[in-house]
Symmetry: D5
């Protein structure tokens, strides 16, 4: 994934402190997915929260700047167009297998438009199950209708 040096620094500090995404999320009153997206340079946070994160992980000013800058996003796949990592690939597979169904059903419910990936939140949940634990991924995006004249 070719992580930026600052992302590597933060991940190392997080590992050294033994802090989980879950506990960062609790301390910062945000979701674990979102905090991770900030650390991976996919989202920016306000200075106060950046300060708090740096204090929790003993990181300096340059990290704070990194966390508050507006990043160039979309780097999870590195140089790949289709991800090779199996966990990432499954989300691409879901798009290939269920894409047309998602389009049918979202448009039947809401009209001609899309689910925003900007005004958007993402949560991951683990549900214990005797037949094998389950992962739940919840996406929540604003419906944006196409403008009609």
């Amino acid at each position: 994934m070719n992580l930026s040096p600052i992302t590597q620094t933060i991940l190392k500090a997080k590992a050294a402190k033994g802090v989980s995404w879950a506990s960062l999320a609790q301390s910062l009153e945000a979701t674990d997915v979102w905090i991770a997206s900030v650390v991976y340079g996919e989202n920016s946070i306000l200075p106060a929260m950046a300060e708090k994160l740096c204090t929790l992980l003993d990181l300096d000013e340059s990290v704070k700047n990194f966390l508050t800058e507006y990043p160039t996003k979309g780097n999870s796949l590195g140089d790949k167009v289709i991800p090779n990592d199996p966990l990432l690939y499954r989300f691409y597979e879901i798009l290939c297998v269920y894409g047309s169904s998602l389009k049918e059903v979202i448009q039947e419910k809401c009209g001609d438009g899309i689910m925003s990936a900007i005004d958007f939140t993402l949560e991951v949940e683990k549900v214990s199950d005797p037949k094998g634990d389950r992962v739940l991924v919840h996406m929540n995006g604003k419906f944006l209708p196409y403008r009609r004249f």
Copy 2:
């Protein structure tokens, strides 16, 4: 998307009857996303349910065969590797922007493994909101841990 002739036949019958995915889902006791995935040739159903679907839409035996065959899946993107349709593209964008975060958080919660896209269900919900309605997409997949020797 180059729909197969039988998918087009079913979609036309559905439109002519004025039947929604929601009402099909209710009649067949399944989700709307899943019924749509069957019609689009991405999943197969058992003969009894295929029969029922054909009766509801006045379709013949050849459709029933199509619905029960094990299909070659993954056709939502047609010839594209990255989808051009804006609704479909947003799911690719979510993977690019949040992929590394999903990997971090799923693995923190569950260990070295993946969320299955086979032992998997998908639901779409619309939530009314005065600031603009929201689309919720719920993915629910079995966690598959990598085997360790």
Copy 3:
């Protein structure tokens, strides 16, 4: 571009009638770009406007259905990822040459977010100029800020 048969039917009717996009736009009280996008299967219109367009061009019910369906969008480049047609290519070139500048300036003015391509209008203007006429393209999209937790 592999136009759909119905798009070809409408374009032929338009040519046979000698009707311009400009006059269609005036009759339908919409922009020429937007009407063209509907005819090319990239946007949908409400039944009343579809009716009106069909009357203007003497087209039948099947065209009306086509115009009101929610289309699979994004087909201007056909099978290409980079367009070969010189007029289309120039817009790709603008993205390659000015993309980083657009990102810098939009984000300086508005913050971490994007210009929507859904809540979006597009207009084309011709300005006469003795040194050579000029084409003006005006894009107008809602600013969508990334959600911060």
Copy 4:
């Protein structure tokens, strides 16, 4: 985007001085988009303006040379053919969705030819709106007719 070391130097100096693209534009009597395109190595300026820019940001001779050299352009997408960053992607999406309409309308207004991306200016405007601010992008290119013998 793999910025060149000199672009990074200028961006750091700009950040350290707390100077905006808008104020640079005012000082240099040019647009913010165009100044940014020069800093990103997509356009060249005359020595006098390069001098002025270096003075404003306290930068040395090597930067001045960089600003006046004729660059190899078109690097906004880095190694990508389709940009992954959501802000950049929307411009690609506009081309996919509205490309055929732009071609129809530009050619109806001006004839067989193209909008130049060389004899071309680009401006970005923010318009406040209670329903959500809007971004306006204005492109202004010379119409170049194909030569006919």
Copy 5:
């Protein structure tokens, strides 16, 4: 190359009449390359010349319409990005081998800008040579300087 049916019709008529591009060029007072580009759907001509071409080859009204329409250009490579035909490939090879030299020399002579491919003519000449005949390709395009503010 997947020629359009009308291009095939014209090429067959040309072959049946035994007319060369050279003689068409003479009759129409244009170059052979340019006439060929019109027949291949890459350029449009004015009605008078289209009429004349149709008369020379005994072709009907639908051909005349085809010749005067503004075409979607850039189809010489079909679905390929790099041409497989050896004659076509050599021009791609020239770009790979001499591209950086062309850039250096054009910019040294003319400044920061490009050779237009729109305000552009192309001629092919055969020169007899005892050591083997030679092909000369002459490109002539307007120099377009990048606008500077």
Copy 6:
């Protein structure tokens, strides 16, 4: 374009000396395009000319070796298959738009074969014109007929 360190060294020496390609061409009795292609590592020269070039630009033995080695050619596009730089792209566009015409006309004049890109010379000329200067590119390649048994 990822220039090799030696190419960069030569270009810097050339810039420092204020020597143009034109004057190098005159000193070395070769064309400017060809000298540039040697400097960019696309052609090799004989030791005597390499010596002369090194003397003109005050460069050492390692440069001379570089200039006389048989290079791996074809690097003008770097990692791209379609060039992003507008000046380079126009030559690709010419191939897309005029490729089929070039094939028709070259084969009409010479038979089944190609214009060599090896036994080949390339010249660039600037022609002043009150309506805008023009760039002329002259290609001159040996015609190679396909062998027939």
Copy 7:
């Protein structure tokens, strides 16, 4: 394949010690393929086994951390989509030639579903044969049926 520095360190230690994959497999009570996949950063092991491996090869704590981290997988092809190495390519060729047959036969035996590549083991065997030794590759994956509602 662009091996990570730690993988290179382990491979060098293994070569210096003259230890084979087979003997590592025996010492660690696992298969040789699986141990190799851990060293190549494609699987993770529990701390006790990591400890043991480090002791066998005289490697330090940083290697142990590497071996127990959950890796980003799927790097055997480096930047390639189709592998160039002949040994690796043959597995791609088997997929191209026998893919449709594998799909037919697995689904005839087990129903609509897949062979898991996660709950999966892989073994390689050499069988001596006077006409030329043979390589046996045994794949063993859990059958995952598609969920039906």
Copy 8:
């Protein structure tokens, strides 16, 4: 997968007769995978076996010719380079995740060379398991050592 018309004919005849690959394999004394590969146009058989297969499925002479012709192979992925169907994709994923391990272990056991995909057989087995049935894929290819001079 764009099956050839004759493959479709055979598959329909097989379905109409209710014959399984397993029973075909038994009748023809070959493996089910191999028979399927012949039907899918990936392998050829001798006239006697083709005759027998045609008799079993009541097919005519043209099918027999198809089965004995030497086919152009490698069509399981259709136009894709990476398969989209989940069952097929898992074999690509195995190559990405275990490719380097397979290379290490095959070469440790056999030397510098490859496992042939031509002098090669492939078998699929289903093993019942209370925790979920398992699929076994057995590949058996001749080891081909690289020639050394």
Copy 9:
């Protein structure tokens, strides 16, 4: 490979007559590879030889025209960039594995230049060998030196 209808016609006539490439080669006094390349639309022949071929296979005038036209060449790989058929792939593999060696050795023997693929012949020979028959492919191309000024 998507053979043209005329190529299919000739191949069917050849099969129906039971004529081999070898016997065609003998009758036409040319090599089997070259005759095959003409039938596959990759080379053109003179009218006299076309006449003779048509007589041998009882084919009509339209075939003769096809055989004498200058074709668009390079279609052996169809839509693929890397061939999937194992026989064809091996030639690509040879280029990947031995390309740099071929370059070294050809240039050591002949200088800076290439082996022509136009002034070129290709022959295939079978050599019986008790350890397994061998295929010999002989390429014979004119050396073309790069022009030096």
Copy 10:
């Protein structure tokens, strides 16, 4: 081609000693192509020959290890799928133009199978010719028939 540091070391030593591939071949009793392929990291040699090569070129133990390791092969094209270097490209062109003919003729002579690229030798010969010297490339690979059950 991104040569490995050790390949560069050997090439430099070879250049410094003024030793040709031909003389290396004679000293080592192997072909020049094959020796070059070993130096480029595409083949491995036995320790005795590696020793001899290192002695001839005054190279140390680390080079000897490199020469005897089983390499990851197939790197002649670097990151390209289609080579840009003209000498290399011609071999790709031969595959595009003559691929289908090679398949026809090899299979007519030998049956359903391939020419091995592993049990394979390659030789290059220069033949003087007053009309221009010729390059002969001789490929010699074992015929591998597809197994039939």
